[in-house]
């Protein structure tokens, strides 16, 4: 067990500044956005340092009580990688917010956004099953509030739906945690993971179902994802971007940390302990999600809502990748997760810029966008092509890996991936409908759309990142591969790094 306590600053510094932002707000409201920016920037730099200087795997001991007695953060490849991604996307959205968030209570918005990002990082970092719940609530509460922000009344409806479904989800999760605690008397993920087969199978199955159901809310799996379309549509675009770019990462991470590390049984393909194989259950859910998401998006006229449905479907695809349980599948899943975050948050930011320029959210409004703003049109096209998995764009490699892993596993996964590919054709249709609208029609004599610097930077960076990953996938691919190893080999990848002397029973 190597200890790297400095990484506690990844949580500590955002917390310190979150508490002090109201004080900054007394000086100037606009200053608070910069504070958020710098703090998330610090997180991004620090997590990139951890990732690139290869400080992982390491344990962060909280309160000087070593795991499993106290709480700890675990920085494995997954955490190092995903925290970097979360922080960088958070940083870019914070840059966008400098421009987008000018009205209302800017101070509180900054606090909430900062803690939203930090909470999502916390979900990924934490090594304690109850602490995970706390971070879920931190992310959750800040996202309910963020989703309700804005002049549109739809935002409130969306936020309320999110709140209700998510509260039920977290209750279920808490019940599951409690049931696990009755069996093993501990809350540490590593210890639970090592001793999971000491539980009674019936109770474990029930607890597992509760945990998975609770986490599926954030991971946007059907039927727990009813909140997705309304919340994404109602929220302001910056918030939709962070929901799909940041919350989705942490949601999927939490789901599969529980399903694979805590409940899982290692092997060429990961299954779970208990009477019912929960990985299979997740695979069924994920496939249903993909199909329902894509088909719902097909006849959608509102682009933002369409992107919301597409988010849902993409999360399903990610979950399909994870649920295969092989290293290749998890690799594809993580890679796709990151690619989706990059592309989808960019698309939402573009929608935000267009909305500010007075362009509506209907598909028809995109007609002739190319004439009005080549930059946004190209960025949108890049994002859409990445979602569709076209070569030279990031999405190609991850989709490739997921399909490859499914077919490698064979059996009923052939059927799953057939359905997923059919859904992808549907997806291709509705994304390309927008792209063709963008490049069609010359007769619009509308004025050019001016994109100011602050939203242009994140959109540009994300678009370049998509192409960079598409052309040179190795960089992200290597980290995804290491991360996949952590998921599929729970003893060597996780448990023994946290508690070296533990014996698997």
């Amino acid at each position: 067990m190597s200890i790297f306590n400095n990484a506690a600053l990844l949580i500590g510094v955002p917390l310190l500044f979150a508490f002090s932002i109201p004080l900054f707000g007394l000086i100037s409201k606009q200053l608070t956005k910069w504070v958020t920016l710098f703090v998330i920037g610090f997180n991004a730099t620090f997590s990139l340092y951890i990732l690139l200087a290869h400080k992982y795997p390491a344990v962060v001991v909280m309160g000087n009580w070593v795991p499993p007695f106290g709480e700890n953060l675990y920085i494995g490849p997954v955490a190092a990688f995903l925290v970097s991604v979360i922080s960088i996307i958070g940083l870019l959205i914070a840059i966008y917010n400098l421009w987008a968030i000018k009205l209302g209570d800017v101070t509180r918005f900054s606090v909430l956004f900062l803690m939203f990002t930090a909470g999502a990082s916390g979900i990924v970092l934490t090594g304690d099953i109850f602490n995970l719940f706390i971070f879920m609530e931190i992310t959750g509460i800040s996202s309910y509030a963020l989703a309700a922000y804005g002049p549109r009344r739809r935002a409130l409806g969306g936020a309320f739906k999110f709140l209700v479904v998510s509260s039920i989800g977290s209750t279920l999760y808490l019940l599951g945690v409690t049931l696990i605690y009755t069996q093993l008397g501990t809350l540490n993920i590593a210890e639970i993971a090592a001793r999971i087969n000491q539980t009674t199978p019936g109770l474990l199955t029930f607890a597992g179902i509760l945990l998975i159901s609770g986490l599926a809310v954030e991971a946007e799996l059907f039927p727990f994802n009813g909140w997705v379309p309304d919340t994404y549509t109602g929220a302001v675009s910056g918030v939709s971007a962070s929901l799909s770019g940041i919350a989705a990462i942490s949601g999927v991470y939490a789901l599969f940390r529980i399903a694979m590390t805590v409940l899982g049984r290692d092997g060429a393909y990961v299954f779970t302990y208990g009477k019912l194989d929960l990985m299979t259950v997740i695979a069924i859910l994920a496939t249903t999600t993909v199909i329902i998401g894509e088909l719902s998006a097909l006849s959608q006229k509102n682009v933002k809502k369409m992107l919301a449905y597409s988010s849902m479907a993409q999360m399903g695809l990610v979950a399909v990748g994870f649920s295969i349980g092989s290293k290749l599948g998890v690799y594809g899943g993580i890679f796709q997760l990151v690619n989706h975050s990059i592309a989808k948050s960019m698309l939402f930011l573009i929608i935000g810029v267009l909305a500010a320029a007075g362009l509506g959210e209907k598909v028809e409004n995109f007609r002739g966008l190319w004439r009005r703003s080549p930059f946004l049109s190209l960025a949108f096209t890049i994002g859409a092509f990445s979602m569709l998995g076209f070569p030279l764009f990031a999405g190609f490699w991850s989709k490739f890996a997921i399909v490859g892993a499914s077919i490698q596993r064979g059996g009923w996964y052939d059927f799953v991936i057939g359905l997923v590919l059919f859904a992808s054709i549907v997806e291709a249709f509705y994304y390309l409908r927008i792209v063709t609208y963008i490049f069609s029609s010359t007769e619009v004599k509308a004025p050019k759309i001016k994109v100011s610097l602050s939203p242009a930077i994140p959109i540009f960076v994300l678009a370049v990142a998509i192409i960079a990953i598409g052309v040179y996938p190795n960089f992200i691919g290597n980290f995804s591969m290491q991360s996949a190893g952590e998921f599929t080999h729970k003893m060597t990848g996780y448990v023994l790094n946290v508690i070296p002397t533990i014996v698997a029973h």
């Binding site: 409806g157 209700v164 159901s213 190609f396 029609s441």
Partner: protein, 622 residues
């Protein structure tokens, strides 16, 4: 390690990036495109058969070797595609079409990669790259809304095809553990005797893709749309080069011969899988011809003509005999040359007349004589008239069919060939002959660059028509590399057949003499006088007075109405309807499913709880 191969892919990609940067400066964009094509062609001179290059991609935890490999087939395809692209981009230097150079260069990179790739990952990557780049290219057509629909339609077909291939690639990978194309083909041929149906299934997954890309029945429906509504400068490339990817894929991925070991023969020593395929080719040829006859849009007409020609190619290579393969590849080359030429001349005509409707053109030969002659050579070639290049390949195709004792297929192909005369004459006549409309008084001939290109193309068509040996020799090498006995090529002037050899120059000279006689007679005979279009039908009356429009009196209006009536019953069967129906059906289901998200917090809570309950029950049952 032959690093010149990587440049064939890298150079167009770099060129594409540069062209994308200067996309606002149109001439610079075209110049870079042309220069990149020319440089790539230059690099190609240093490439020879047997070279290979591979680079490791750290993928899926292991090193994935992306391999480029130059075979006889690939170098042949590379030469013809890049050379044609160079000619086209040279021609486009002065053209004011909406084609974006960087997309064409992306397609070129994909083109080179597809033809050289020896691993399925690279093949698929390039295939998809080519797919989306061509779709975006199609978007820029003249009629925006129509080209938008065409692009969408094309994309959906293309993506469906890609996913089918996707499935096939990974199924093979699961079975063999390697992505290498040659290793997988070897594996397939080793198990075809044991599990013929498995092999057929896997091969079909690939074949759907290739059939879609080549526009073979029943996946031909996107072809007329995409060809007709793509930018005029892009259509030549789409028709001449891009339709050949499907043919290349068929030749590469499908050693149809291996079916012999798995499936019984149907007729004439052809296994029934191949036999079906021959018929698919024949149907495509006939269908394309029949539909081409009735088109009023000239680009649609030639789109159907392309379809028909690819039907010939498929029918020939499906036989998998030495003659068949030779004929197929030869015809593919010929089609590339003459159809490319025809679309280039159409580009000239359409860019000057501003329309692609046959019923709005006419008499343009006086204004554009060189283009007229080029077009004439092109259609003569397409019709298979001897001094020009279409003749030899058609001749070989008939021979191959007869050799395998497939009389009905041969007869249908003959009929299709006759039909080809009809639509070619219709196009020729409607565009260039007849009276010149006053709208076109100011039409000018193409620029000097265009003239050079047209002369060059005329020369090429005549040259390869008279000296087919220059093509038949490399094709012979390809046939040999497939493990078949190549046809002997006696001299450059001979087309060698199974029954007889033809000395093309002889036929050419005799035909030339008769043509010259005809022309002399034409000019010597009675004087002719030029009248305006309406004059000769309405006797000077203005048709509006009778409540009619002038178009109906244009000579190419309802040109083949009697024939159309003959075929009318068959037009009711619409393959297109099936695809559109599937699409509509999916949309309906989509709207129904959308209703799940009712927008009520309680219902969402309900879903979650019901989902939970289903799990709990499943947990009990387990």
């Amino acid at each position: 390690m032959n690093s010149n191969l990587i440049w064939l892919v890298a150079l167009p990609l770099i060129g594409s990036a540069v062209a994308a940067i200067v996309v606002r400066y149109k001439f610079l964009d075209r110049l870079i495109t042309f220069l990149t094509f020319a440089t790539t062609l230059f690099v190609l001179f240093s490439v020879h058969v047997g070279q290979s290059y591979s680079w490791g991609l750290n993928f899926l935890g292991t090193t994935l070797n992306l391999t480029l490999n130059v075979s006889h087939l690939s170098i042949f395809m590379l030469y013809i595609s890049i050379a044609f692209g160079t000619v086209l981009t040279f021609y486009s230097l002065i053209d004011h079409s909406r084609m974006k150079g960087f997309l064409l260069l992306l397609i070129l990179a994909a083109n080179n990669w597809i033809f050289m790739s020896n691993d399925m990952v690279g093949f698929f990557f390039a295939w998809e790259l080519m797919g989306w780049a061509s779709v975006v290219s199609v978007l820029g057509g003249r009629e925006r809304e129509k080209s938008r629909h065409a692009a969408l339609y094309y994309m959906i077909m293309s993506v469906s095809g890609s996913y089918s291939m996707f499935f096939g690639i990974f199924t093979l990978w699961r079975l063999t553990g390697t992505f290498s194309i040659s290793a997988n083909i070897a594996y397939l041929s080793s198990i075809v005797g044991i599990h013929p149906w498995w092999v057929l299934g896997i091969v079909s997954l690939f074949f759907v893709t290739f059939m879609i890309k080549a526009g073979i029945f029943p996946f031909h429906t996107w072809v007329p749309l995409a060809y007709a509504y793509s930018p005029d400068a892009f259509t030549p490339f789409l028709s001449a080069v891009m339709s050949k990817y499907g043919i290349y894929g068929m030749l590469l991925f499908m050693p149809l011969s291996l079916m012999e070991r798995g499936f019984p023969s149907a007729f004439g020593g052809v296994p029934w899988t191949n036999y079906i395929f021959v018929w698919i080719g024949v149907i495509t040829a006939v269908l394309g011809t029949v539909l081409a006859i009735f088109q009023d849009d000239v680009k649609k007409l030639f789109a159907y003509s392309s379809l028909s020609n690819l039907g010939y190619v498929v029918a020939a290579i499906a036989l998998f005999t030495p003659v068949g393969i030779t004929a197929g590849i030869f015809h593919a080359f010929n089609h590339l040359l003459f159809k490319g030429t025809l679309f280039i001349t159409l580009l000239a005509v359409i860019s000057r007349s501003g329309t692609s409707k046959l019923s709005e053109m006419g008499g343009l030969w006086k204004k554009m004589p060189i283009t007229f002659f080029t077009f004439f050579v092109g259609i003569a070639s397409a019709a298979g008239i001897p001094p020009f290049n279409g003749f030899g390949s058609k001749w070989l195709i008939y021979q191959a069919m007869i050799k395998q004792h497939l009389p009905f297929a041969t007869i249908l192909l003959f009929l299709a060939s006759t039909g080809a005369f009809m639509y070619l004459f219709k196009a020729f006549h409607s565009i260039f002959l007849g009276q010149l409309s006053h709208d076109y008084d100011r039409v000018k001939e193409v620029s000097a660059v265009g003239k050079i290109t047209e002369f060059f193309l005329m020369f090429a068509m005549t040259f390869f028509g008279v000296q087919p040996g220059y093509i038949l020799k490399p094709i012979g090498a390809i046939v040999k590399s497939m493990g078949l006995k190549p046809l002997p090529v006696m001299a450059n002037g001979y087309v060698t057949g199974m029954f007889s050899n033809i000395y093309v120059p002889l036929i050419s000279w005799s035909l030339a003499v008769s043509f010259t006689l005809g022309f002399i007679l034409f000019f010597v005979s009675a004087k002719h006088k030029y009248v305006s279009q309406e004059n000769n039908y309405t006797a000077g009356q203005i048709p509006e007075d009778w409540g009619l429009t002038p178009e109906t009196y244009q000579f190419s209006w309802n040109f083949y109405q009697p024939v159309e009536k003959l075929f009318a019953p068959f037009f009711r069967i619409k393959i297109d309807g099936f695809f559109r129906g599937t699409g509509d059906w999916t949309k309906t289901i989509g709207s129904a499913i959308k209703e799940i998200f009712v927008g009520n917090a309680q219902m969402y809570a309900f879903f979650a709880i019901v989902g939970l309950i289903i799990f709990v029950i499943a947990g009990w049952m387990a």
